[in-house]
């Protein structure tokens, strides 16, 4: 039994962490939080140059040809430092859709440029408030042109291309590749609880749209890609939860009250212990997800929902309590606590919110993967 990353993968983690400790400090994150830029272009370029964006993309398409385990390692590190870059949209979702369903031509056209960071992709499916289901998809494609409105679209303000769910001529749901620079595409930036990640509304008025994958198969493809992306996202959340715990622990050791470090008070000590518990459960569930991701196990849908529910819960729990442990200082703009709090709540709803994944998990378990919970 080996439910752990390999030594090489751990070396990769150390290397990525060193890189990010220079290129993705609090100052870099705050530059995006407070500045006009949608994401940190220098950081994104740096990740591309190290071959990290293309980690799981085959070499023939300009990637590094590593496995998704390496991508899990990278995701955790990006989550730890709240990297303000569109990796999840461009890689976990867009590149994965192409790998999963794209034609050779489409792969050749886009994967190398996604891996190099030259092109940023995103995934546009939600059309407003509430859960996204096949029934909520109103965007339509006729004669190769798409019309409709998608929002919110994470990183939609910065993306060059988008994979979009829409009704095809037969009324089924298909995936389409849309060049966001084309005529008929309008985008509006949306304010959000986490300005370190871009959010936009994309409006299509018969903009050119190219079919991606089999017609009518769109929802099925999207669901499979979202399950895989959920595992990678869970690693980002795990990284954030761990970092929030470390921040709170460090502060509890250093901050004195009543002549003692506040970490010597059980009220604080036990908050931290509970943060450790939720982060530890999340890590173990994420490793289960990582195993399913690379082994192509039949229980991948259950593993994805498990990792996602566990990590969402842990990151929200740890980010919230990190502020509580910091007290008044934790509620200042100057301290980083709120950056983690914002990100934890933003990630909690992207790719579908916690209650949706809770439903997915139990639906899938009752559909026959029950044994995996034993």
């Amino acid at each position: 039994m080996n439910l752990d990353f390999s030594d090489e993968q751990k070396q990769l983690r150390d290397q990525v962490r060193r890189f990010l400790s220079e290129k993705c400090t609090s100052a870099h994150v705050r530059a995006i939080l407070e500045g006009p830029e949608s994401y940190d272009k220098a950081l994104y370029k740096g990740l591309a140059d190290l071959g990290l964006l293309g980690a799981a993309i085959p070499e023939e398409y300009g990637g590094s040809g590593l496995t998704h385990l390496e991508l899990c390692v990278i995701a955790e590190e990006l989550g730890r430092c709240l990297a303000p870059v569109p990796v999840s949209s461009s890689i976990y979702l867009t590149a994965e859709c192409l790998l999963h369903a794209g034609s050779a031509k489409q792969k050749e056209a886009w994967l190398p440029r996604l891996a190099s960071g030259e092109v940023v992709g995103t995934f546009a499916s939600s059309e407003g408030q509430g859960r996204t289901t096949p029934a909520t998809i109103a965007a339509k494609v006729e004669g190769g042109r798409i019309s409709g409105t998608k929002w919110p679209v994470v990183d939609g303000d910065a993306a060059d291309i988008a994979v979009v769910t829409a009704r095809d001529e037969k009324g089924g749901i298909s995936l389409y590749l849309v060049d966001l620079a084309a005529d008929g595409v309008h985008r509006e930036t949306l304010q959000s609880i986490d300005p370190t990640r871009g959010q936009a509304r994309l409006t299509f008025e018969s903009a050119p749209a190219e079919l991606l994958g089999t017609r009518g198969d769109g929802w099925h493809i999207a669901s499979q890609v979202i399950d895989r992306a959920a595992i990678l996202m869970a690693f980002e959340q795990l990284g954030g939860a761990d970092r929030a715990l470390e921040m709170a622990r460090d502060y509890a050791l250093e901050r004195m009250a009543f002549g003692r470090p506040i970490g010597s008070f059980q009220a604080i000590k036990h908050i931290l212990a509970d943060m450790y518990v939720s982060a530890t459960l999340a890590r173990s569930n994420c490793y289960y997800g990582a195993w399913a991701l690379v082994s192509g196990a039949g229980e991948l849908p259950v593993a994805a929902a498990t990792a996602r529910v566990s990590s969402t819960t842990a990151f929200q729990h740890c980010a919230k309590n990190n502020i509580q442990v910091h007290g008044g200082m934790g509620f200042t703009w100057a301290f980083d606590c709120h950056l983690f709090y914002r990100r934890s709540n933003m990630l909690a709803v992207s790719l579908g919110s916690l209650s949706t994944w809770e439903t997915n998990l139990i639906e899938r378990m009752s559909a026959g993967n029950a044994w995996s919970a034993a």
Binding site: A257, G259, C337, S355
Partner: protein, 427 residues
């Protein structure tokens, strides 16, 4: 059991209602009702000027500081009358929020500790809204541990008897509008921390006083830092004896806990309304069993706080002192609001991350999400409140105190809270 006024209460309520109906700035009612967290909601005019005007009007009609004696500009009303006034003033009460600390905490402290001459000079203009007061207690390195404060007051060496103040206070609301401040300082670091403190009131326009707004995690700036550099205070602005500052501060803090209302809001009514409107898979969210269970648990917290408040009002109505029940209010409301705002965002799906005017209820739940962490900390953190309930209400022993009998200067400290990531804090 009933929710009715006594005859006297009903008469008083009618009188209040009539006056407010005739005098309140009706044109502001709408924006006042839309008020979100941390502002009184007035945007169409200067909120401070509007607040001072409303307070002046109340004072002229004898409706200012109902709980104060008349000689200081109050109305000498009973606690229950004060509650009824608050119920009737409704949204307009927010107009005079800038006076809350002055009327509720600073005034009573001055009343209890200042010389008559000072009381006659300071209190009437506070009651009438001419002067704004702020409270200068918390410091970056002493929040829950207030008595650990470090702002120094030293006798001037010019024989004037004046005191020279150096140091920093934090979380001071209204400092930028304040004429006067209630300031607690350390005058003797060589004795145990509670024994070396002295209280003053000072003119906020004094040279050496610098007010800087604090930017909060939610982007608002409802609080300030106040820096003191060689600020001079005459000795006759001292409240209580030298070294008696802790005792004086207890008067202030005791008054902080007296406020009684119809229960702090958890935000439940907003969530409930939202769940009536929102849909899950084409059905009203309120019909979803998961939503129902969540709503029910929040509903009983909301109503529990509401009727806890009414039990306290019932006691006042009988001329009794309310029990300790109200101490649960902030503890329950803060956590419930954070919990329900996260739940509301969940129901909004991916759009839950969006925070603008088009968001459900103009982004009220996103605002709650970002404001609620402060509720769980300000004016006594959840942990401090549990200590207070455990010790003062249930009679459990206090925590072990390692700093009790140690000279302040020998107590280990961490310097002002350092930040927890690579970069230095901007505060």
């Amino acid at each position: 059991m009933d929710f009715e006024d006594t005859a006297e209460e009903a008469a008083f309520r009618a009188q209040v209602r009539a006056w407010i109906d005739a005098n309140a700035p009706k044109h502001l009612e709408e924006e006042l009702k839309r008020a979100s967290f941390g502002s009184n909601g007035v945007v169409s005019e200067d909120p401070i000027a509007t607040g001072k005007a409303w307070q002046k009007k109340k004072a002229e009609a004898g409706w200012a500081c109902l709980h104060w004696p008349k000689e200081y500009g109050g109305a000498a009303r009973t606690p229950i009358e004060r509650v009824i006034w608050g119920q009737e003033e409704g949204p307009y009460a927010a107009l005079t929020g800038v006076f809350t600390i002055g009327h509720g905490m600073c005034g009573p402290t001055v009343m209890a500790w200042a010389a008559d001459a000072h009381k006659r000079r300071l209190l009437p203009p506070l009651a009438s809204g001419e002067h704004v007061w702020c409270q200068l207690f918390s410091e970056p390195a002493s929040g829950s541990d207030l008595a650990g404060l470090r702002t120094r007051a030293v006798k001037a060496d010019d024989g004037s008897g004046d005191w020279i103040i150096n140091g920093q206070k934090i979380w001071t609301s209204g400092a930028q509008y304040s004429d006067w401040g209630l300031l607690i300082t350390r005058t003797n670091p060589d004795v145990p921390k509670h024994k070396g403190l002295t209280m003053f009131f000072l003119d906020m326009k004094s040279p050496g006083v610098e007010v800087r707004p604090i930017k909060q995690a939610n982007g608002q700036s409802s609080f300030n830092e106040v820096y003191f550099t060689d600020v001079r205070i005459p000795d006759n602005q001292r409240l209580g004896e030298v070294g008696q500052g802790w005792e004086v501060s207890l008067t202030t803090l005791m008054n902080e806990r007296l406020s009684i209302g119809s229960g702090m809001s958890t935000g439940f009514p907003d969530l409930f309304r939202y769940c009536m409107d929102a849909e899950i898979d084409g059905k009203p969210a309120v019909e979803d069993s998961g939503v129902r269970s969540k709503l029910a648990q929040l509903a009983v917290k909301q109503s529990g706080l509401k009727y806890t408040g009414m039990r306290a009002i019932s006691a006042l109505s009988k001329g009794e002192t309310p029990g300790p029940e109200n101490s649960i209010g902030k503890l329950v409301a803060g956590a419930a609001m954070q919990d329900l705002s996260i739940f509301a965002l969940d129901l909004q799906g991916e759009a839950g991350a969006i925070w603008n005017e088009d968001s459900p209820q103009q982004g009220r739940f996103q605002a709650m999400l970002m404001r609620s962490p402060a509720t769980r900390i300000e004016g006594g953190s959840d942990e401090i409140l549990r200590n207070i309930i455990g010790e003062r209400v249930l009679g459990l022993p206090g925590d072990i105190r390692v700093d009790k009998d140690v000279a302040f200067k020998d107590i280990p400290t961490s310097g002002r809270g350092k930040k927890s990531s690579a970069e230095a804090p901007r505060t």
